[in-house]
């Protein structure tokens, strides 16, 4: 828990009397907040504690006396001052509340029986609690077209709108996408979009959650359930690695909605639309429900019994072990898994099978030892006021959207300076104080130059460069966000850049920007070559982990295994006997499609564990259905290393089993025993065996740690985290977000509270040291020939990945195809018009593709979006090359 705000007694406090009771308030704290913190709830519609107040709805009018006599004032706009007296329940305040509610209901249709919000509606609740009970208005209410779609996912019913300005403020101030706005202000005021300009924001779903009436509704939830029929559990979103806290709502064993929970260190109640609306895949009919087997080559996959499928898989693995030893088995994937699942699979791979050819990343991230060895920052540390953030990462708006919101707030509201190093314009560029165009392969040199005294490196805008240098010389605290900005660039480039930064600013801490759901948990749990559970290397941790697993040390792998690229190369060359795809689709996601194809054909036995059939696992011999999100409990780890709980809400489809159970079953068939029978047991074992996770189970069980625990768990008693203002149950904006529901403490797993680990249970050995940063790679980008373009391959939020495409609400938002983007000047030079079809040739292959002009792409660079639908990127990239150059030619 980091706490950057000074403790209460350090700031000047003032004494305010609320309803006759004296309370302490921070100077500058709003009356509405101070009262709520002390148990006096003042009704409100427009006020949301994560947004600036506007005093729009007048519902929070209370009598405030600052020495000049009591007067009605909006408590969301008034700051506490010493000696202030506030009356929230006086006859005058009550009359004001009556009047405001009567007024707000003048045009509200009161169609609660057919409104999705009915039952969890702040307007409904507060009308019951504070309203006059009847209205004097007999006039006709205003009529407008009933719900109009303002985006692919959000509907707007303007009749129900009470003009509180929450959605429009969110769009402008929080998301920075002011595509909705008040129009026709006056008697006909309404919220709307510009004609034919939809509310195309990645964050539009948040407006549905914060709407205090039923004016904004989400397409996937409309008319699906009444709030009182919903059952809920708190969990963590796993659409990316930010780890937003959510509430899963379900009814009749079907997931119906996710809502954001106000987790102070992470998501502040916001979610991105992908995270909010991809719940649909959980219920999708296409889910795998039973094991599939291919009995003979050339035949289709056919359903099989679990026992037979597991036996077949085990026999295949055993056969492989007999033929080529443990090194003949490889496991790719695991970022989809919960920590406990990942741990079980790591134990199966490294303890039972004995192979170290395990990798949770698909050559699209950063090396495991580098990620685990970096001095890690939290989101709060990166966003703390006064800091400078150096970003060399993928487009954060596209890949880690809620981290983008936090960075946006930091930059816009808190004066945090962002220095962005990127090959092309990104979603972060408009927020950056200085955005430097860095050609692929040259990031480390640019970092070095920023701290040097020379001129700007070639191709970097001097103004931005010198501004960045001044910022860095200013002495502010520096943090960094480091990731793999382009799949066409080797991870070595980012690694070298980080090393260079660390040399020049030894105090720098890093937020690693890998996108896959629980990739950090998978790495922590040892699903990476050379790594054992608990952030220890194979050599350092062998003795400790072997004793924790009751194995002889020689039974663990002796040499560091292959990463995904190595595994696929081995498979393609016939050197790998068995390949397990643990929720991985290398044909779509591995940057070099040709290699992935040869690997899947070259391997003797292909086993897949997944939620859906995909292009890769259709080629498998054995497909095992996994239970997946919302159907199993466990924990997940975000990019900060924060471990939070995953809630179980519904039953898994068909006979699908949790990933850890599949690992345990396979171990059993292989003659081993994982020795675990429940998630709680796994959590205990992780706390005991994994050095970085020592004491985790106990820390997570502490209700004070409902926002999760950053590993390694600090020694000593866990510090209670600084919480956001605890919400009134009637208010949707507060944690427990499922509107109207009381917040409940999060219980671990199935409600058991694991007992505290005692010292003597921690194992006989002192815990080994966790991974230290490996030596930097040497990076020298090859010279680009004058006719070539250096390629940049990025990702978009909505893509053709399995989970998005099985979520109907957002599936259509993925662009059907992605053209090559070139600088307009380059197009002119080549004599090509925007929209033309060109031939693109790389070392790997050649293909025809449409090209468009994009002034956000610098000269001599070509940009492409990784498009899983058999797109161009996979045909142009060569696995392992430092950079990729392409030739663009007109088609003859």
């Amino acid at each position: 828990m980091t706490d950057t705000a000074p403790a209460r007694d350090e700031v000047s406090t003032v004494t305010v009397t609320v309803n006759g009771t004296a309370i302490e308030a921070a100077k500058g704290e709003l009356v509405i907040d101070a009262a709520e913190r002390n148990g006096v709830y003042i009704p409100r519609f427009c006020y949301h504690h994560r947004m600036k107040p506007v005093g729009m709805c007048r519902m929070c009018l209370v009598e405030i006396d600052t020495g000049r006599g009591p007067a009605l004032q909006p408590s969301c706009m008034i700051e506490c001052t010493d000696g202030m007296s506030v009356e929230t329940e006086s006859p005058v305040s009550k009359k004001a509340q009556d009047g405001v509610l009567e007024f707000l209901l003048v045009n509200h249709p009161l169609d609660c029986p057919v409104c999705d919000k009915g039952g969890e509606c702040p307007l409904q609740d507060q009308t019951m609690s504070y309203g006059p009970g009847e209205s004097r208005f007999i006039e006709e209410k205003r009529h407008l077209e009933k719900p109009i779609p303002i985006s692919q996912t959000v509907f707007l019913d303007r009749e129900r709108c009470i003009l509180c300005d929450r959605c429009t403020r969110f769009a402008k101030d929080v998301a920075g996408d002011p595509f909705i706005h008040f129009q026709d202000r006056g008697n006909d005021s309404q919220v709307n979009t510009f004609p034919d300009h939809p509310f195309a924001s990645y964050f539009s779903g948040n407006t549905v959650q914060i709407c205090p009436v039923g004016a904004l509704t989400a397409k996937p939830f409309r008319f699906k359930a009444r709030p009182w029929d919903l059952d809920q559990v708190e969990s963590t979103c796993t659409s990316c690695s930010v780890g937003c806290r959510v509430v899963i709502d379900s009814s009749r064993d079907e997931v119906l909605r996710y809502s954001g929970v106000d987790s102070d260190p992470v998501n502040w109640s916001w979610l991105c639309d992908k995270g909010r609306f991809d719940f649909e895949y959980v219920n999708d009919d296409g889910r795998l429900t039973e094991p599939l087997l291919r009995t003979d080559a050339g035949q289709d996959l056919a359903p099989a019994k679990w026992s037979y499928a597991l036996k077949t898989a085990a026999t295949a693995i055993k056969g492989g072990l007999d033929r080529s030893g443990p090194a003949g088995v490889g496991i790719i994937g695991g970022a989809r898994l919960a920590n406990e699942d990942a741990y079980a699979w790591a134990k199966l791979a490294k303890g039972v099978i004995g192979t170290d050819n395990v990798d949770a990343q698909l050559d699209d991230g950063l090396p495991a030892a580098f990620v685990l060895g970096l001095p890690r920052a939290t989101i709060d540390e990166v966003c703390a006021p006064g800091g400078t953030v150096v970003v060399y990462a993928p487009d954060i708006k596209e890949e880690l959207p809620v981290l983008f919101l936090r960075l946006r707030h930091a930059a816009v509201e808190d004066g945090v300076k962002i220095i962005e190093l990127a090959a092309t314009d990104t979603g972060l560029t408009p927020l950056a104080d200085s955005s430097l165009r860095v050609r692929p392969g040259e990031a480390a040199d640019v970092v070095a130059a920023l701290f040097g005294s020379g001129t700007a490196p070639e191709g970097v805008d001097p103004t931005a460069f010198f501004h960045a240098r001044t910022l860095l010389a200013g002495g502010a605290r520096v943090t960094a966000v480091i990731g793999r900005p382009s799949l066409a660039e080797s991870a070595d480039v980012a690694v070298a850049a980080a090393h260079r930064l660390l040399e020049l600013v030894p105090s720098v801490t890093f937020l690693p920007a890998l996108r896959r759901a629980n990739v950090f948990g998978a790495l922590d749990m040892g699903l990476a070559p050379g790594i054992l559970p608990g952030r220890v290397t194979l050599d350092e941790g062998r003795a400790h982990v072997a004793s924790g697993w009751s194995l002889a040390t020689k039974e663990l792998p002796t040499e560091t295994g292959l990463d995904t690229r190595g595994i696929l190369e081995a498979a393609a060359n016939g050197k790998l006997d068995t390949l397990v795809l643990l929720g991985a689709d290398p044909l779509a996601d591995f940057p070099d499609r040709d290699l992935a194809e040869r690997a899947l054909t070259g391997v003797r036995t292909l086993i897949a564990v997944d939620l859906f059939l995909n292009e890769s696992n259709r080629k498998a011999d054995i497909v095992l259905p996994a239970a997946g999100y919302a159907t199993t409990e466990g924990t997940t780890t975000n990019l900060e290393g924060r471990v939070t709980t995953l809630g179980q809400k519904i039953t898994a489809p068909g006979t699908a089993r949790a990933d850890w159970i599949i690992a345990a079953d396979l171990a059993g068939h292989l003659g081993g025993d994982l020795g675990v029978e429940s998630v709680a047991q796994l959590q205990d074992e992780i706390s005991r065996v994994a050095p970085s996770h020592a004491g985790l189970a106990a820390a997570l069980a502490d209700p004070a740690n409902r926002d999760g625990v950053v590993v390694p768990v600090p020694a000593g008693p866990p510090q209670p985290p600084e919480h956001a203002v605890e919400g009134n149950p009637a208010d949707p904006s507060h944690r427990g977000a499922a509107e109207g529901a009381p917040a409940e403490p999060v219980l671990l797993a199935d409600g058991e509270v694991p007992g505290e680990r005692l010292e003597h249970e921690l194992g006989p050995d002192p815990a080994p040291a966790t991974v230290t940063l490996p030596a930097p790679p040497s990076v020298a980008a090859p010279v680009r020939d004058a006719y070539a373009h250096r390629l940049v391959v990025t990702r978009k939020l909505y893509d053709h990945g399995t989970l998005v495409q099985h979520s109907p609400a957002i599936a259509a938002l993925a662009a059907p195809s992605s053209p090559l983007r070139l600088n307009p000047a380059d197009l002119d030079r080549l004599g090509i018009a925007s929209g033309d079809r060109v031939r693109v040739t790389s070392e790997r292959g050649s293909l025809a593709i449409d090209v468009v002009a994009d002034s956000g792409v610098p000269k001599n660079v070509a940009a492409l979006v990784l498009d899983q639908a058999g797109g161009a990127a996979g045909q142009l990239l060569t696995a392992g090359s430092l950079v990729t150059d392409i030739r663009v030619e007109t088609q003859s």
């Binding site: 996408d177 002011p178 595509f179 909705i180 706005h181 008040f182 129009q183 026709d184 202000r185 006056g186 709307n192 979009t193 510009f194 004609p195 300009h197």
Partner: protein, 210 residues
């Protein structure tokens, strides 16, 4: 539907130069768009959004607040018949009825030839001259039915062109005010706590005056 034409883009740039922040120029630019087409088209609003660096929804939000920015086509002559209490007492209703009949349109409509749009307006502050009306915001006092008919005939014949330019016209070319480049405020970055140049320049000027 048209965006700003090249001449007006130049003018727009000059107008933008008068304000430290581009968004402050929105209302003068909306006037410019209305001057060009007689009303504010959707395309023009999108164009203005690009020019001032905001979204079209924000431009529409500002534009729609002002009754006198027309977001539907109007004729070159916008006739507003006063509806205030004095005009009402002195026959505005009869005048409006006569206008509707003689023009063949209802209030808010535009005549078949596209020349004249008829509207009612709240008090135009000419109560001593009731009933009054405005054509493109130019007054006509104590309007009787016959005078109204004559006015319409003259408008259609172009006899009043010198006095009443087409709807939306802010200034004719010869009389348009231009701010010399050295008097422009110049753009200032938002959120930079640096005093804009023109502030100190004005201070110098007042000091010089003593």
């Amino acid at each position: 539907m048209p965006r700003l034409n090249p001449d007006n883009i130049e003018l727009a740039k000059e107008i933008l130069g008068r304000y430290p922040r581009p968004k402050s120029a929105l209302i003068p630019l909306l006037h410019l768009a209305q001057e060009q087409d007689g009303w504010v088209t959707d395309d023009a609003m999108e164009h203005l959004a690009e020019l001032v660096g905001c979204t079209p929804a924000e431009v529409l939000g500002t534009c729609s607040f002002y009754e006198m920015f027309k977001r539907e086509p109007v004729g070159p002559y916008l006739v507003n018949i006063c509806h205030g209490i004095s005009c009402h007492l002195l026959g505005a209703d009869e005048l409006l009825e006569h206008a509707e009949q003689s023009l063949g349109v209802k209030t808010g409509g535009t005549t078949a030839d596209g020349k004249i749009t008829l509207e009612e307006a709240e008090c135009q502050a000419a109560c001593t001259e009731a009933p009054c009306l405005q054509v493109n915001y130019r007054y006509r006092y104590k309007v009787a039915n016959e005078a109204f008919d004559q006015l319409i005939t003259d408008l259609r014949a172009g006899k009043l062109d010198d006095e009443i330019p087409p709807h939306g016209t802010l200034a004719r070319r010869a009389t348009r005010q231009h701010i010399p480049a050295d008097r422009a405020a110049g753009p200032a970055a938002v959120d930079v706590n640096v005093e804009p140049v023109w502030l100190s320049r004005n201070a110098d000027a007042s000091e010089a005056k003593g």
